[in-house]
C-alpha cells in the first residue's frame, strides 16, 4: 500500500515536530542572532563591517555549501513544517482573549511574515543563486542581488535607499525577532525545560529581555546601513579589498565585484555624487 504524505506526517508527527522545534533554535535562531550581531558591527563604521564580511567570505568556495546546508535548507524545513503546523490549528483569540492565546496567534502571523520577508530579503541582497544566467536574466532585471560582499557597506547603503525597503526590513526584523523570542519560550515548554507556571513566567521574562535586546541590535544595524555614506565606504572597502587580495585573505571573485555591478554602481554613485554635491553646496552657502 502506498503511503500518502498525510500518512507520513501523521506517523512521524512527533519526530517531525520536535525537529521543527529544534531547528528554530539550532541552526535558524542561532544563525539569526549571529547575523544581526554581525550587521550591527556597521555601527563601528564600514571598515569594521567589511572585516566581518571578509571573515565570512574567507570560506571561499565552501561558503555556498555552508549557506545551503546550515542556513537555507534549515530555514526552508522550518518554514514548510511551520506552514503545515499553522494549517493544523485554528486561532480563536476573539472568544478567548488571553495573553498566551494572543501569542499563539502572533507566533503564526509572524511566522508567515518571516517566510515572506526572508524569501524577498535573500532575493533582494543575496540573489539566491550566483550563476551568470540567473543573475543576468532573473535577479538583476528585478533589481535584486544588490549586495556585493567585497563592497559590503556601500552596496548595502545603496540597496536601502528610499522608504519601501527600510519599512520592509523594519517589519521583517521585528517579526523575526518576536517569532524567535516567543519560539524559544514555547520550545522550553515543548521539551520540558520550564514546567510550572512560575517557571514559565520567569522564562517568558528572560525570553522577552532577549527579544528586546535582539530587536535593538537588529534595528540599530538597519539604522547604521541607512545612514552610511556609500561613497566614503567604497573608498575604505577598495583599500581593504586590495590589501586582502594581496595578503591572500580573500580570493578575487568577479561575482563579488563583477563588471556589471561596477557599471550599476557608477550610476548610483553619480546620483549620490549629485546629492553629496548639493549637500556640500548647501553647507557652504550657510
Amino acid at each position: 500500500m502506498s503511503q500518502s504524505p498525510t500518512d507520513f506526517f501523521t506517523k512521524h508527527e512527533f519526530l517531525i515536530r520536535r525537529l521543527h522545534s529544534l531547528s528554530g533554535l539550532i541552526p535558524v535562531g542561532a544563525y539569526m542572532t549571529v547575523h544581526l550581531l554581525v550587521n550591527s558591527s556597521l555601527l563601528n563604521g564600514p571598515g569594521a563591517f567589511q572585516k566581518n564580511v571578509n571573515q565570512i567570505h574567507s570560506l571561499g568556495s565552501a561558503l555556498p555549501l555552508v549557506e545551503w546546508l546550515f542556513i537555507f535548507l534549515p530555514i526552508i524545513f522550518h518554514a514548510v513544517i511551520g506552514i503545515w503546523i499553522i494549517r493544523t490549528g485554528k486561532s480563536n483569540h476573539d472568544n478567548y482573549r488571553y495573553v498566551a492565546n494572543w501569542r499563539y496567534t502572533l507566533q503564526r502571523w509572524t511566522g508567515v511574515i518571516a517566510v515572506l520577508f526572508i524569501f524577498f530579503h535573500v532575493f533582494h541582497l543575496h540573489g539566491w543563486f550566483h550563476t551568470d544566467w540567473w543573475l543576468k536574466n532573473v535577479a538583476e532585471p528585478f533589481g535584486m542581488a544588490q549586495f556585493r560582499p567585497y563592497n559590503a557597506a556601500s552596496t548595502l547603503a545603496i540597496a536601502l535607499q528610499g522608504i519601501v525597503w527600510p519599512v520592509f526590513y523594519f517589519v521583517g526584523i521585528v517579526s523575526c525577532v518576536f517569532h524567535f523570542a516567543n519560539g524559544v519560550w514555547t520550545m522550553g515548554i515543548t521539551w520540558g525545560l520550564w514546567i510550572s507556571p512560575e517557571a514559565q513566567k520567569k522564562a517568558s521574562l528572560v525570553c522577552a529581555a532577549g527579544g528586546v535586546f535582539l530587536t535593538v541590535v537588529g534595528l540599530s544595524a538597519l539604522f547604521a546601513a541607512m545612514s552610511t555614506d556609500a561613497q566614503a565606504a567604497r573608498e575604505i572597502e577598495d583599500k581593504m579589498y586590495e590589501a586582502a587580495v594581496e595578503t591572500g585573505e580573500l580570493v578575487d571573485n568577479p561575482h563579488k565585484r563583477s563588471e556589471e555591478e561596477i557599471e550599476a554602481e557608477t550610476e548610483a554613485e553619480d546620483e549620490l555624487d549629485d546629492t553629496t554635491r548639493r549637500a556640500l553646496e548647501a553647507a557652504a552657502s550657510n
Binding site: K90, N101, P197
Partner: protein, 286 residues
C-alpha cells in the same frame, strides 16, 4: 444546597430573559438559530432556563417547536455533561448563573453546543472522542492479576498533593473546546452499519487526532501513581504517537478555561519532558 441570599441584582432584573439557541435536529443536519423567552426567576441557572424552554416548547414569537435538547447530570459542576458554549465562552450550564450572564450581556443569553464535538441534537454533543483519548493513554491503574498482589507502595505526601488537583478532572471538554489545536472530528454513520462497525470507524479517526489537554493530564496523573507507573511506557508511546503531545501549540487556553482549575499546562510541560526523555531513550536503547 443552601440558597444564596438575594442580592441587589434582583432589584433591577428584567421581566423576561431572552435566549438565543443554536439548534440542530440531528447529526449532519444544518444548524439554525432560534429565539426563546422565559419569565425571570430569582437565582436561575442555564439549566433552569432550559427547563422552562422545554416546558414552553414555543419560540419567543409563539411558534410551536420541539423542546430544546440538552445534557445534564449532577447539577453541581462535577459531572461535566452539561458543558456548552454560553455567551461565547465554554462552561457548565449548571453553574452558569443567569444574573451573572446578564451582567456580561444584558440583552440576551446565547447558547451554542460545543463546536469541537459532533452534535447529537441541539445542545447535546457526543464527547466519545474524549473518552477514547483516556483509553488511548490508559488513564487507569492496572490492578488486574491472577492473585492478590497486596497493598501497593505508599505514595509520598508531596506526590499526593501534586496528584490530587489532576484527579479532579471531570472530562467536561472545556479545555478541548477552547484549544486552537483541537479540531472537530465527525464521522457519520453509514446506512446499514452496525454499532460495532460505526464505533470502530470512529475510533480509527479519533486515534490519529490530537488527544488534547484532559487526556494528557490524566496520563501524567497515572504516570505519577506508584502502581500506575507500571504502564508508563505504554502511555508515553500514546503521548508520542499520532495526535500526541507534539500537537500542542502552547496557546494555554486549556488552563484558563478549566472549571476545576487543574494545572493543565504544568501537566503538558511534564508530559513534554517525559516525552523528551522517552524518545531519547528509545533512540539509543534499541
Amino acid at each position: 444546597m443552601i440558597s444564596p441570599e438575594t442580592n441587589d441584582s434582583t432589584e433591577h432584573h428584567p421581566e423576561k430573559v431572552n435566549v438565543r439557541i443554536l439548534r440542530q435536529d440531528g447529526p449532519g443536519q444544518p444548524s439554525y438559530w432560534e429565539r426563546h423567552q422565559v419569565p425571570y426567576e430569582e437565582n436561575m441557572n442555564v439549566i433552569s432556563v432550559l427547563q422552562r424552554i422545554a416546558a414552553q416548547s414555543a419560540t419567543a414569537d409563539g411558534r410551536d417547536v420541539s423542546p430544546v435538547s440538552w445534557d445534564c447530570g449532577c447539577l453541581e459542576e462535577v459531572c461535566g455533561s452539561c458543558t456548552m458554549v454560553i455567551n461565547g465562552q465554554v462552561r457548565q450550564s449548571c453553574s452558569a448563573l443567569v444574573d451573572r450572564l446578564l451582567e456580561e450581556e444584558p440583552s440576551e443569553i446565547e447558547l451554542k453546543p460545543m463546536s469541537k464535538f459532533p452534535v447529537i441534537r441541539d445542545l447535546m454533543v457526543d464527547r466519545s472522542r474524549l473518552f477514547r483519548g483516556l483509553e488511548r493513554v490508559k488513564a487507569w491503574v492496572p490492578v488486574d492479576s491472577y492473585y492478590d498482589m497486596g497493598a501497593g507502595p505508599r505514595q509520598a505526601r508531596s506526590d499526593q498533593e501534586e496528584a490530587y488537583p489532576l484527579s479532579q478532572c471531570m472530562s467536561c471538554g472545556c479545555c478541548l473546546e477552547a484549544c486552537p489545536q483541537y479540531q472537530k472530528v465527525e464521522i457519520y454513520r453509514r446506512p446499514g452499519e452496525t454499532d460495532e462497525q460505526f464505533e470502530a470507524r470512529k475510533n480509527e479517526a479519533y486515534d490519529e487526532a490530537f488527544l488534547g489537554a484532559a487526556p494528557i493530564s490524566q496520563a501524567v496523573l497515572f504516570n505519577s501513581h506508584p502502581t500506575g507507573k507500571n504502564a508508563k511506557d505504554e502511555r508515553m508511546e500514546a503521548l508520542t504517537g499520532p495526535g500526541g503531545i507534539q500537537a500542542c501549540g502552547n496557546a494555554q487556553n486549556c488552563v484558563a478555561v478549566c472549571p476545576k482549575e487543574i494545572p493543565l499546562t504544568k501537566s503538558i510541560g511534564k508530559a513534554g519532558r517525559a516525552a523528551t526523555v522517552h524518545s531519547i531513550k528509545k533512540l539509543f536503547d534499541r
